[in-house]
Structure formats: C-alpha cells, structure tokens
C-alpha cells in the first residue's frame, strides 16, 4: 500500500486522540486517548520501517529492523506508564471520590 495512506490513517488516529484529551473530563478516558495516540505513532513507525526495507531491498537485508524495535520499546514504556498512571488515578479517587480532572486544578485539597 502507498505510504500516503498509512500517514493519513495515523494522522486521523492521532488527532482523534488529541480531541479526546481536550474534550473529555474523565481521567481514565484521557488516559485511553493517550494510548490511542501512542498506537497511531506505532503504526506509522511500522509502515515506515516496511517502506525503508523495500527501498533498501537490494543492499541491506535488515534495513527497517530498528523501526520495529522502537515500536517494541514504545510498548514497554507505555505499559510502565499505564501502570503508574492508573495507580495515581486510584489514589486520586480514594482521596476526592471522583476521577474528574477539573477537581484537580488547585493541586491541593
């Protein structure tokens, strides 16, 4: 498939994630939108790695491996980030009995 399609698909997913972060107030849904943005970037990295592999097909048999490994590391960091973030949300719910981010604008209680 032309790389153009993958660029615009990832762009659409990324912008949907941004709109979700800007319009929702539930902290968990904001987190899910961040995951969506990370996945858009992952998809584009894989598409670019396959494009690079095809472009360097004659000379370098392993061209494009790096892109897929970056995706792997992004997944690792995302897993760690989600576990810490959800722990913070649970802590927040325990203190103010809500996951509404508007209650947090004072940074104190």
């Amino acid at each position: 498939m032309p790389i153009n399609y993958y660029i615009f698909l990832s762009l659409a997913l990324f912008v949907i994630g941004i709109v979700g972060v800007l319009t929702r107030r539930n902290a968990i849904i904001i987190f899910m939108c961040i995951e969506l943005m990370l996945n858009a970037v992952n998809l584009l990295l894989v598409a670019f790695s396959k494009m690079h592999h095809l472009a360097k097909a004659g000379t370098d048999a392993t061209a494009g491996t790096d892109g897929q490994l970056f995706v792997f590391f992004i997944m690792v960091v995302a897993a760690a980030e989600v576990s810490v973030g959800l722990a913070i949300i649970v802590m927040m719910y325990r203190n103010i009995h809500s996951v509404d981010v508007n209650f947090l604008n004072r940074l104190k209680h």
Binding site: M1, I3, Y5, I7, F8, L9, L11, A12, L13, V15, I16, G17, I18, V19, G20, L22, T23, R25, N26, I28, I29, M32, C33, E35, L36, N39, N42, L43, V46, A47, S49, K50, M51, H53, L54, A55, T62, A63, G64, T65, D66, Q68, L69, V71, F72, F73, M75, V76, V77, A78, A79, A80, S83, V84, A87, I89, V90, M91, R94, D100
Partner: protein
C-alpha cells in the same frame, strides 16, 4: 481490487470508527471495549505489514494486559454509570476546533511530500519475524533492553508505593 486492498480499507474504516467511538461513548466501559477493538484493528494492520512479532506483542500487551488493567480500575471505582459531568459546550467545541485545526495543518503540510509515491510492502519481507528482530534486539539493542527491565522494576515499586493505603 486485491484482497490486501480490501482488507486494508476494511481495517482502516473500522479503526477510525472505533477510535471515534472511544471518544464519543458516554460510558467508560464502552470506551474501553471500543479501544480494544481499535487495538485489534491496528494489530490487523501489523499482520498486513507482515510484522508478526509486533502483532502478537500488541495483542498480548495492549489488548490483553493494559486494557484488562483499565477495565479493572473502572470496575473497582464503580464508574460504569454514565453520570460523568460534562465539560460545558463551548469548551468542548473549542477542543474539537483545536483538533480540527491541527488535522488541517498536518494534512496541508503532508499533502505534497516527496515520499508519498513510495510503497510500504505488504504480505512480504521478513524483518518483522521473531528471528530477525530477536537477533537485532539481543545484539545491538541489548543495553536499552536491560534498561527497560530496570524501568519496569522501578514502575512496579512506584505503583506499590503510590497505591498503598497510608497509615491513618
């Protein structure tokens, strides 16, 4: 239209639709379920790009572990009633407008780039297989790999410290 193209367009439409439903759904549990569908569609794209290792890792890590964690937290908090307070209308419209402006700028910037004639190869190529990725991971990237294990350990310790009930 070949079968690859049909599958690509089907997955693309389904991905964008389910991503929209994540944002639009009122109930957080439905949002999580739509997000799981989005991740499965993205995994389908990985299969089309012949990145089988990332396909299976995406299913296991995202659709398996992370989404179960989200569902677990939502059900722990008993949030599955749709009584979430909404932002006021103007703020929501401003958010959508800002996202739309960003989309417009990106499309205008990427419309005429010179790599757009290039092709991402589908159904072929073996760099996405476990053998090649494993060789690269444990030869060139072994230090970042070990550092990521330290990151996981510190995240685990952090979660336990944050989530612990304080002594009264």
């Amino acid at each position: 239209m070949s079968i690859t193209q049909i599958l690509f367009w089907f997955l693309t439409v389904l991905t964008v639709f389910s991503a929209l439903m994540v944002v639009v759904s009122k109930n957080p549990v439905y949002s999580v379920l739509w997000l799981i569908l989005t991740f499965f569609c993205i995994s389908g794209h990985y299969v089309l790009l012949n990145a089988q290792f990332l396909f299976i890792v995406n299913i296991i890590v995202y659709a398996g572990a992370i989404m179960v964690l989200f569902l677990f937290v939502i059900m722990l908090m008993n949030l599955n009633k749709s009584s979430e307070p909404q932002k006021n209308r103007w703020l929501r419209m401003a958010g959508v407008l800002a996202g739309g402006c960003l989309l417009l700028i990106f499309v205008a910037a990427l419309k005429n780039i010179d790599i757009r004639k290039q092709v991402a190869e589908t159904n072929t190529g073996d760099i996405g297989l476990i053998q090649n990725l494993g060789k690269a991971l444990f030869n060139e990237y072994v230090v970042p790999f070990e550092i990521s294990s330290v990151l996981f350990l510190s995240a685990m310790v952090g979660v336990v410290v944050i989530g612990k009930k304080e002594a009264p």
